[in-house]
């Protein structure tokens, strides 16, 4: 019989940071895209493709950072498809996102067989080594929690204030939000609606790609089929819960990350709950938090609406 209190430890909080990272990236990615008025439910697919690209990059170069660059390139490319379909061709944004998700399952699986002759998993590749943050790592309590993580986890956390500053404190952010709230108004004062949306979707693609890279060359050191396991969608839930604000999304991600870390720890500790139910916990939690969050959430007014210049 496991002791529940044993589960709560500093290691659990450290694992929370690790678990929240691949949810925080798509949450921030969703915020940039949707704030500009482009729905992006294809984040899951973008993450999968990037996760695979990261492995390929790392495999051929032997350097995990090259893998990160490959991931970013893949994320940019995928987001360009999304942007072109949604913004230029004015296609239905939910449907395009679904197409990206299906591409995200098919493309890596196809290449897995072609490049590595495998059906489900890639070879093990070099992964990013953790950073030990000097001084911080030696602090009591904080040290064990925050002192030693993947560089991509630190970048994710830093992206929260950065995203907030960019979106809410700069002229660029004002313009980006204006095209999501009233594109005609933005257009009438000379803001290029299409360009702003393209940029926002591409930022979104880069952020999603880092989430994918984290999973494949930091958390693990290989690609496994459908390894994101819905984290892109949980990220979207976090975005909504956080009311399209990076700080709010961080809070949501902390909750999900904690739940995920808790279920993993509980499984390891043989808690008498079927492991399948523990695995379902973050998804259930996502839905429950959404019930609490909606009603007071106001999505950007023009999200999912293509802009048609008269």
């Amino acid at each position: 019989m496991a002791n529940w209190s044993q589960l709560i430890s500093l290691a659990l909080f450290s694992a929370t940071i690790r678990s929240l990272t691949p949810v925080l990236y798509p949450a921030l990615a969703g915020i940039f895209s949707e704030r500009s008025g482009v729905l992006n439910i294809g984040l899951e697919g973008m993450m999968l493709i990037s996760a695979f690209a990261a492995v390929v990059g790392s495999y051929y170069s032997g350097n995990a950072w090259i893998g990160v660059l490959w991931a970013i390139a893949a994320g940019l490319l995928t987001s360009l498809i999304h942007a072109f379909m949604c913004i230029t061709l004015k296609a239905d944004q939910a449907i395009v996102g679904t197409g990206i998700n299906i591409l995200g399952i098919g493309l890596p699986s196809y290449l897995l067989l072609k490049l590595f002759g495998s059906q489900g998993i890639s070879p093990i590749v070099n992964r990013l080594s953790k950073w030990r943050i000097p001084v911080v790592v030696d602090l009591p309590v904080i040290g064990p929690i925050l002192g030693e993580h993947s560089p991509l986890a630190y970048i994710a956390l830093i992206m929260v204030p950065v995203s907030w500053f960019v979106l809410f404190k700069t002229p660029f952010g004002l313009r980006l939000r204006s095209v999501g709230e009233n594109p005609s108004a933005a257009d009438s004062v000379g803001v290029n609606v299409y360009l702003m949306r393209y940029i926002a979707v591409m930022i979104s693609g880069v952020l999603a790609s880092l989430g994918g890279a984290f999973l494949s060359i930091s958390y693990l050191a290989q690609y496994t089929r459908m390894m994101t396991a819905g984290r892109g969608f949980i990220g979207l839930a976090a975005m909504i819960f956080g009311r399209w604000n990076p700080w709010g999304a961080l809070i949501a991600c902390l909750i999900f990350g904690f739940a995920d870390a808790l279920q993993a720890t509980a499984q390891a500790a043989n808690v008498p709950i079927p492991p399948q139910f523990l695995l379902a916990l973050p998804y259930i939690l996502s839905i429950v938090t959404l019930i609490g969050a909606m009603g007071r959430a106001n999505p950007p007014a023009y999200v999912a609406k293509p802009y048609e210049k008269a």
Partner: protein, 373 residues
């Protein structure tokens, strides 16, 4: 203006009915062209790949049977998505609903011993009802908590998978008495009959086609179907006319989920005769593309489901013969979806072209918004 009223009286010859079929064929063609381009970029032998794909689908009686076998659940999952869309809902949870439907159908199929006339219908119905209830949760959350159904249906898939895994895992309530994570075999009295000697085709395909007709009738001819369409196109107008959009949303998600459940039920009762975790190779996801390519029309869904059935079964042979991953089909499906996403943009153009050919004058299109121009 007088001549216009006259024109209204005459039926005249119109090509507008061709808009749908043209979009259907264009969708397929563009997907195949895009797929060829993709294969060419990755230096595959395009002719060999497509050759193997079609050989795998039509090369022998058994292959044709396999294609029809895949068509069956795809008709149901396509109908599920199409019915949702017609009611303004994007049901991305068909895969989970399908798993639920298969699970419950299997349970009724092996656990209850009943005469055939009751047993089979009850197993199908049970799968549909439970999957429908599961789906209606998303409908409820949408109607009463304003949470987008795309998010909830997606997340609920993962919960459904976890529950299904649990049922047949060691110590799970549906676990068979052997080493494998599967349920016991469904009794003979709950199995769909084989229709075609030498293939695995079951009466499921007939049930699927029957349901397509029922769904068409329901959407276009019944009062509830009318209300669902009204809510789907414009919930504010439906509400204004005294239709309760919330009720319709819950009901539509329930019916959509039930159709998804039937997809799983026919697959379990007609093909596998038992439940296990990976019994669906993604039929629920394919349903999205099936519905879109079929232009949300139940008969279009039948045609699109057959096409995807062909692709699904052909791709297995393609992988075996040409050594090209069967996942190329997912890429084709993604391309179909991308194309379908632009249908709304293309439709007015097509209509104008065809309307022009048919009547000799341009169809009057008014894009006027409120206010002045």
């Amino acid at each position: 203006m007088a001549d216009k009223k006259e024109a209204a009286g005459k039926k005249g010859f119109s090509l507008l009915g061709l808009v749908g079929p043209i979009q259907f064929v264009m969708g397929i063609l563009l997907a195949f062209i895009g797929g060829a381009l993709f294969l060419w970029i990755f230096r595959e032998n395009v002719a060999e790949a497509y050759g193997a794909l079609f050989k795998g689908a039509f090369g022998s009686k058994r292959y044709i049977g396999e294609a029809l076998l895949s068509t069956t659940p795809l008709i149901f999952s396509g109908l599920a998505v199409a019915l949702g869309f017609r009611s303004g809902l994007f049901n991305m949870g068909v895969e989970g609903q399908l798993v639920f439907g298969g699970m419950v159908a299997a349970y009724i199929g092996y656990a209850w011993d009943l005469p055939r006339v009751i047993h089979l219908p009850l197993a199908l119905l049970g799968g549909a009802v439970v999957a429908g209830l599961w789906g209606s949760i998303s409908g409820y959350l949408k109607a009463y908590h304003n949470i987008h159904e795309v998010i909830t249906t997606l997340l609920m898939n993962y919960i459904a998978f976890a529950i299904a895994d649990y049922m047949i895992a060691v110590g799970g309530p549906m676990k068979a008495d052997n080493e494998l994570p599967v349920s016991p075999d469904v009794l003979e009295s709950a199995r769909l009959v084989r229709l075609w000697e030498g293939t695995r085709v079951s009466s499921g395909i007939l049930i699927a086609i029957f349901f397509a007709i029922v769904v068409w009738f329901f959407i276009y001819k019944t009062r509830i179907g009318y209300k669902m369409r009204a809510v789907g196109f414009n919930a504010a107008a439906a509400e204004y006319a005294g239709i309760n959009p919330k009720t319709m949303t819950v009901l539509a998600m329930a019916l959509s989920g039930a159709l998804g459940g039937l997809a799983g039920a026919v697959e379990v009762l007609g093909v596998h005769y038992k439940f296990y975790a990976a019994f669906s190779p993604g039929y629920g996801w394919d349903g999205i593309a099936v519905a879109l390519l079929g232009l949300l029309n139940p008969f279009g869904v039948i045609a699109a489901a057959f096409l995807f059935g062909v692709l699904r079964s052909g791709s297995i042979t393609m992988q075996a013969i040409a050594g090209i991953s069967k996942n190329v089909v997912s890429i084709l499906i993604a391309l179909v979806i991308f194309f379908s996403a632009t249908n709304k943009t293309l439709e007015p153009i097509l209509k104008r072209l065809l309307g022009g050919i048919g009547s000799g004058k341009e169809l009057e299109l008014n894009t006027e918004q409120e206010g002045d121009r």
